[in-house]
């Protein structure tokens, strides 16, 4: 006669790892991944059509390089998704310091390209610190707001958030990179909004922002004080009335609108897309790639792209709801908001409903830093989703 002995089965390290990997894979948001993959594939295809005539004798020049970044980015996405977001929160101050240093280094190390310094060259790779800054700022602000969850009604918190963002925004603004500065502002807004800052704080901030914009664009120049360069001012006000244009700043937008409109319902095809082919459309592989896509593939092509982005934004919004803790929720919400704003400004600029700023179309524009950053951000969303699902949160 024997007493039943229950042995607790201790898993080996390998078994534990396998179980965790399985859990990880089970709780990924595959729809988000599919949409992201779809955007990457579509983006590469678009890039190929758009840039096939850019380098004589080498139609795949840009696509090849972009593919390398895509592969690297996907690996980064997997790595970021696998790590608990709270790890980033805990190392955020060193990250913050590093970004400040890099942004200052830009003024010293970067070459001036068309009037601005943005990239530091590391061998083969052009590295844009302001893109990295996006990720760090999101992490820092999300962490800051989450820690002060019980003190959100205080102005100290709100101003603290702004104070943390201000040095980064100032450095980016001086490059000058006004578009990325706007995205940083969106990140600030996102962090405050999702953290739970009271509405009155947000209202006051909105009024102040409006006054500052008014001052920069209209009041100060009337008094003779120019903070923004004239061309910057014209770009911002020009989208309201593109016919008023003394120095040709909105020439780009008019060419872009012509390109987009001429696409019609199903596009002109790569060979007949004359605005792209004959260089009437500037920056057709980067900032204005959407116009080029719209010209070549028409409304259908553009709609497919927007649909894919729509899926990403939708899944991202759901992820905010399943986050396991406040920090992750703020993180996810800010990421989604930043992506939405970037999408709106870039596409809106090409069709004349948003001011002209030099920011890329996420996941599609040619450029390594932007691509990697966006994939990292999506990786963060996945990380939040996995942890949230695992924690059984709502």
């Amino acid at each position: 006669m024997a007493t039943p002995v229950t042995r607790v089965h201790q898993p080996t390290r390998a078994q534990a790892f396998a179980w965790e990997l399985g859990a990880f894979l089970r709780h990924l948001d595959y729809l988000l991944l599919a949409a992201t993959g779809g955007l990457l594939a579509y983006g590469l295809w678009v890039l190929e059509s758009v840039t096939q005539n850019d380098v004589a004798g080498d139609p795949g020049y840009y696509v090849f390089r972009q593919t390398i970044y895509v592969v690297a980015g996907v690996l980064l996405l997997a790595a970021v998704a696998a790590v608990d977001p709270n790890v980033y929160r805990r190392v955020r101050w060193p990250l913050y310091g590093a970004v400040i240093v890099l942004l200052i280094a830009v003024f010293v190390l970067a070459e001036e390209v068309r009037g601005s310094r943005r990239w530091i060259q590391i061998g083969f790779f052009n590295f844009q610190p302001s893109e990295l800054g996006k990720i760090v700022l999101i992490v820092v602000l999300a962490g800051f707001v989450a820690e002060r969850r019980h003190r959100l009604a205080e102005w100290g918190t709100t101003l603290g958030v702004i104070g943390l963002a201000a040095p980064l925004m100032a450095l980016v603004f001086k490059e000058p990179d006004f578009g990325t500065t706007l995205i940083y502002a969106a990140i600030v807004l996102g962090a405050l909004f999702f953290g739970g800052t009271p509405w009155r704080h947000l209202a006051v901030l909105a009024i102040i922002a409006g006054l500052v914009a008014g001052a920069l664009l209209w009041f100060l120049p009337s008094a003779g004080i120019e903070v923004l360069e004239p061309y910057q001012r014209e770009r911002l006000t020009g989208f309201v009335d593109p016919d008023v244009d003394p120095s040709g700043s909105t020439y780009n937008v008019n060419q872009s609108i012509t390109a987009v409109g001429s696409g019609g319902f199903d596009g002109r095809g790569a060979d007949n897309a004359t605005q792209t082919k004959f260089n009437y459309l500037p920056e057709h592989s980067t900032d204005f790639i959407f116009s080029s896509l719209a010209e070549q593939r028409g409304f259908m092509g553009a709609a497919i792209l927007l649909l894919l982005y729509g899926i990403v934004i939708w899944r991202g919004t759901k992820i905010v709801a399943v986050a396991k803790d406040l920090y992750s929720a703020i993180l996810a919400g800010t990421v989604v908001f930043a992506l939405l704003i970037q999408l709106f400004i870039n596409v809106g600029m090409t069709i004349g409903i948003a001011p002209v700023t030099g920011i890329p179309l996420p996941l599609v524009s040619y450029g390594g830093s932007s691509l990697l950053t966006t994939l990292i951000l999506i990786g963060l969303l996945e990380a939040v989703h996995v942890r949230g699902r695992l924690a059984g949160a709502r």
Binding site: G261, T274, W314, A321, Y327, G333, V336
Partner: protein, 657 residues
Amino acid sequence: MNDHGRRPGFLPPDPRVEEPYRFNPQMALRVGILGVLAVVVFCALFFRLWALQVISGERYLENANNNQIRSFGVAAPRGSIVDRDGDTLVSNKPGTQIQIWPAALERLPVEERAAMLRRLARLLELKVPAVRDKVEERLESDPLTPVTIDTSVGELKTAYLMEHQGDFPGVQITETYLRSYEQGVLAPHILGYVGEIDAEQLEAKADQGYRSGDRIGKTGIEAVYDTYLRGVRGEGRVFVDALGRITSEREFSQLPEPGDNIRLTIDADLQRASEEALEYGIRLAHDQDEWAADGGALVALDVNTGEILALASNPTFDPGIYVGRVEEKDLNALAAKSANHPTLNRAVAGLYPPGSTFKPFVALAALEEGLLGRDEYIQCTGEEVIDGQTFSNWDPYKNEPMTVSTALANSCDTFFYNVALRFYKRKDSPLQRWSRAMGFGAGTGIDLGPEAEGLVPTPGWRRRTFKTEIDKIWTSGDSVQLAIGQGDLLVSPLQMTRAYAMIANGGKLVEPHLVKSVEEPRNEGEPPVVLRPYTPKPARELGLDPNGVQVVQQALYDATHATYGTSQAVFGSFPVPIAGKTGTAEKFVTLPGFEGLRDQSWWCGYGPYEAPEIAVCALIENGGHGGTAAAPTALKVFEKYFNVEPGSYSAVVQQSD
């Protein structure tokens, strides 16, 4: 709930953030707002795209196509100008033009525009402000037509521009035609030159189809016959890319048509001989210590048809300086005081007192009016006193009775003073009336452009022109001066030549003209097709008494062949009989460092005497006596015309050793 997430085991949970988190309604609201915002954004983007692409798609497609269209013009080859025998005087040679599209330049951002202009100006060795002004001027008037910045640039620079098109957006190189002066410096005053049309001309000729940037004749035949010479410009369209580089075939809506040729009445050999003769005449004058001789004019005319065989003016200039890029320094050289107005055509626009060369017309008028008999004798003395003024003869020792024929040949001044007094007594100014009838005091209607009318002074003119009472009166002295071709009388060499042709052909005033016909150019070896022969007005019959004309003709023959003839030494032994008259006219001139009276040397005449063909008038400014400077000048022209070898006969031409 066991957390198998990757949380490092050594870190305790952070209660501030990692405590269980409830998805409370406040958060739900905010997430909901995010969702609504996303929906709004996407709707805005979709609607705008629909509006642009589906609703307005056609319009933008058209815009995209129009973006690329550039219209262009192709210069037509200009017609050639040939002489009466078909020898080419002016034709075309190919050249390159550098042009800028102002509209394309406008599209560039301001800094790039300035940088491109600087690069271009440096390459072409031009001044940046000049280039920029040209572009801006064209931008205001006609931004879609390219503006020419430089011409005949040279192969190296053209090649550089073509290789570096990307650095020069909006710049294009076109081929054009430039004028080529086949005979070197010959007849520039007749031919004129070609340049780019300016604003005033454009306004005046807008209805004739001229456009900005067109080339147009500025002076001379090039100007007067520009509508024949210029042909029809080609028009076309081409597609270009954003930098202005051509991306399609050119489509022509109008092919260029070459201009018609102009055949002149000028004989190129005779013209060259005339221009050389003027140089010769000026040298002769210098040899005679007439240091002020510095110019002249010569006209050779067919006495029966009015065709001009040669028309020369000295000093002359090289029309080649107006071809291609016109250099400031060349223009300044022409305008310098020391250059003595080389572009002035003295043959038609120069005015001088005719002196004794006018006497034949005074004689004719007197004979017609019955104030003088053909065989009447008047004493020719050394001087005459008229109304208290003393007027002398050129030969103070003369004292013999003369008929009009002898007086002309001898050029006796006092004879004509007497005739003048007879005119003075008449109240209807018959001398002036006959002068005007013979073509003085008015333009000849020559098809060359502006000519001077000259002046035939009358009592009425005096009253109108002068202010003081004393000056307003026409005195006997004025009549006297008029009768010897001095005083306020002013004539041009062309008027004189035509008037002498009138004597030669028996009393008909011909219409002097330079163009024989307008012809359609043909290939080498094929005869030209005459499109329009020049039909001059019929010669005006003056109704002169043939006996009177005969007297004057004989007198002119005596002037060159009788021993007392004033140019007998020059023409006496010439194998072809030439008749003509010298003149030594005093004129008040203002020269650098001198102000006063200088003698203008004249000789006018015709030949062969029995059956006249050609009338020649030569004038050497400040050249002294007619017989010493102008007569030998005219002789050279007759030599050429009649193919007489110089030296095959004896002529006394006074050159100092």
